[in-house]
Symmetry: C2
Subunit: 151 residues, 2 copies
Amino acid sequence: MEIERKFLVERLPENLVHYSHIEIEQGYLCTSPTVRIRKAGDVFWLTVKERTLSTSTAIHNREEEFRLDEEAYNRLKSKCDGRMVLKTRYKIPVGDLTAELDIFHGHHEGLRIVEVEFPSTEAADAFDAPQWFGADVSTDRRYTNSFLAFN
Amino acid sequence: MEIERKFLVERLPENLVHYSHIEIEQGYLCTSPTVRIRKAGDVFWLTVKERTLSTSTAIHNREEEFRLDEEAYNRLKSKCDGRMVLKTRYKIPVGDLTAELDIFHGHHEGLRIVEVEFPSTEAADAFDAPQWFGADVSTDRRYTNSFLAFN
């Protein structure tokens, strides 16, 4: 079970280059449930996500990940609908948690979204966002990666 | 984790019509890992299976299942490689366990395979197959459904 919140970015943290980052390419075979392939650096993944009910401000998903080899990735890539989503993901510490800052490339060049994953619904509800975070878009489907692949 | 053994069928059990059965259609988006869609009766599934190492006679898989609606099923069906596999599956009690007897239709009309799932590797190794079971083909890839979809 994945519990996360998603925000726009008011301003980028300084010295981004000092944080670990990875190049991501991903695409979708299906969006309900989400059937996603992702290349992160040199590692290939298939992820299936089921949206489950939520009573808090956070997103709750069942998420299952499977490793792919490059051949399987390319086979599934050829079956994707919409465009491939391209972004650089930075991992930035926020207290005891880690923010994942995505800076998009290609069709959505310049778009910036930051996500935080929480150990519990209570932690998600209690999260005090840093100054550099912008509006909470956890429930705004226009900022889902699957929406971005088609729009 | 799924632990199962697979056999050919020496002769069909009598009065098959008395056992519960369901019509299955399935196909493959990828075979390594296995990314399978299945229609069983009126219910649609996406299943991803990772083959894991085994030291016994049984097959060990990590298997994750997700419900699909008919629209998602048809979308993914259009992306399948090979042929759709068609079969009638009968559930037949064998002691405390349940045998799943598949009688194939279409391209493999008449092929019969029976599978038993076990609670442990020990139970799989100790299984005393009924008289109506034929050769153990647990490790023979020609009898995997994904092989049958392409051959």
